[in-house]
Symmetry: C2
Subunit: 321 residues, 2 copies
DNA sequence: TGCCCAGTTTGACTTTTGTCGAGAGCCGTG
DNA sequence: CACGGCTCTCGACAAAAGTCAAACTGGGCA
């Protein structure tokens, strides 16, 4: 298969069409191929990230509400997806926005940490292709053997594929049965290296999980519903990168957390840009916990959630004064 | 004039069309306007940089020749515009390529130094619009009062306009009649501040001028043809940001240079990324001088010039060994 | 108030682009 | 060497996007 010349042709066609502004038939005659082929090449060029079409996400930060939230929660940037209008599906809208924001935040040479969850996978799924060079996508937490399509390694790989980047997977279970085994595994050079490399990331992408029976941790069998309920009564407020955090965003002191293989929260906080995306309104408390714990610098949420966050912040400062 | 809502609409239309992949008629019915308006909004969105369409310039660096040149001249990156094919106009091709490369090198928050010349203006002219935030474009050298459209301030302003960036102009003449006056003007706070700010740039864009009667310096009246010939016999090899350099890329010790108001070469060398673009084959010696003087880290040239550079480099190392 | 201007918006028309099935070239294989 | 299976390519048609003159809007001004 002549893959090289094809790639070359795609590139040339894309260059003539997009950079020089020629019409498809002009490109076709330049390259001595049919116009139909040109159309096909251009589609491939878009699909492989040889050409990049991106729209500014300014609109969603320009919102007054977004500005207020940035101030109130001292975040670096907030994007708010509208929900009021006759938008077909607000959670898709959030994912599409998050994907654009993510691509805007990525720079060449970056090292990107990616966690796991339905939200992250949805973002990967709608993310457009790009041709970043020297980008590495690293997996932030161990795997779950569940048959879900949004396993940690899949999220990492899919995003790496879209960006044409190197994916650094990490094949350890997310949760082990004993604390001892987890300790031993964490001490393994392969694992330790990966985990300590997390702090060197330039950008992180994750969502936050709820502490209830619907949580992935329960669905994937890492915890039983009753264990989850127990954790909740012990102060669990949310899940970040597979770890349970309390309302202050600190790792909850519990057996489960000690059995988890994942990036430490301190490492996450060492990452300059931490993009948190939340789709479900029900994740209000978990998100508050993540923000309290300084695990979020950039936030993408729906309008409704944004309003709740702002109301909460206002109420808190009022009480304090 | 309702400029805000219009901008908002353009943004929304662009978002629905490019990010969500809706068709124009679907966008039109979502926004309750006619499809024709949508088409118009989308054009505006492209023109103002709300949407960005960029094609990877990989193809032009992937060339073996480009790699060899990078090694031979120890440059960070080289792009070579093909000239062999039935390309309409090689110099336009170089300008289009340079504009793409330039946009690829710019990052948010950058401070960009721009010099002046026909080449730089041509690049500005074909550059697509972008919506970079926090970018500042600064003028690297004083002005010439000539009626050319590619005056230093025009080059700066045009590029700033295209990027939606802040343009920092600098209203001093490029050349003064006495050395004394030049010294005095350079000591002026406004000027001194600007000149010392050059070293803080992250990216510079310039071409290199030839030392002959066709030079802009002659055409704009800064030097007479005979003065130019004199300088040439004194060792002048090229012109960078309005200053005459010798074959080693050092400022030539001459009255003219002492009368010029421009960024010092040392400041230029302090800029991390220095993009030099050369269109004319006749500028071989000036370009060699600029490279020798370390004034170039990123280079865009035509295929013919690239070959000459490589041949020259090979001959030089051969002689040396 | 009424008029005019500059900038929008629209419907109708033209041009450009996307797509699909048919056909052509190109292997490895039986 | 003929045979599927494969991808790539093309022509023709359908769909989508671009364009333009005419109608419309709303604000400034006599």
């Amino acid at each position: 298969m002549a893959i090289r010349p094809a790639e070359q042709l795609i590139h040339k066609a894309a260059w003539l069409y997009y950079a020089h502004g020629l019409r498809q038939d002009q490109v076709a005659s330049q390259l001595n191929i049919s116009r139909a082929s040109v159309a096909m090449y251009l589609r491939k060029a878009r699909e492989t990230g040889i050409v990049n079409i991106s729209t500014s996400t300014q609109l969603f930060t320009d919102d007054v509400l977004a500005r207020k939230l940035e101030d109130a929660l001292s975040l670096d940037a907030v994007w708010i997806a509208p929900e009021n209008d006759h938008i077909a599906d607000p959670s898709t809208e959030i994912a599409v926005l998050a994907a654009s924001v993510f691509l805007e935040l990525v720079k060449k040479g970056d090292r990107i940490g990616v966690a796991w969850g339905r939200t992250v996978y949805m973002i990967a799924d709608v993310m457009s292709y790009a041709d970043l060079q020297d980008v590495t996508v690293v997996q932030l937490c161990g795997n779950l053997g569940a048959p879900y399509s949004y396993r940690p390694d899949q999220c990492t790989m899919e995003i790496a594929r879209r960006l044409n980047a190197k994916g650094l997977n990490f094949y350890a279970p997310l949760v082990l049965s004993t604390e001892e085994l987890a300790r031993a595994l964490r001490a393994e050079p392969v694992i330790r290296e990966q985990l300590s490399g997390v702090g060197e990331c330039d950008l992180a992408l994750y969502s936050v999980g709820a502490v209830d029976a619907d949580s992935h941790l329960v669905k994937c069998g890492a915890l039983t519903p009753s264990e989850m309920a127990d954790l909740r009564s012990q102060g669990a407020a949310g899940v970040i990168a597979g770890q349970i955090i309390d309302a202050e965003g600190k790792v909850l002191d519990c057996s489960y957390n000690r059995r988890v293989i994942s990036a430490e929260l301190a490492s996450l906080r060492a990452i300059a840009r931490r993009l948190v995306v939340v789709q479900e309104d029900s994740k209000f408390e978990p998100l508050l916990a993540a923000i309290a714990g300084g695990l979020c610098t950039h936030l993408v949420v729906g309008a409704h959630m944004a309003q709740r966050l702002l109301d909460h912040a206002a109420a808190t400062t009022e009480k304090a004064s």
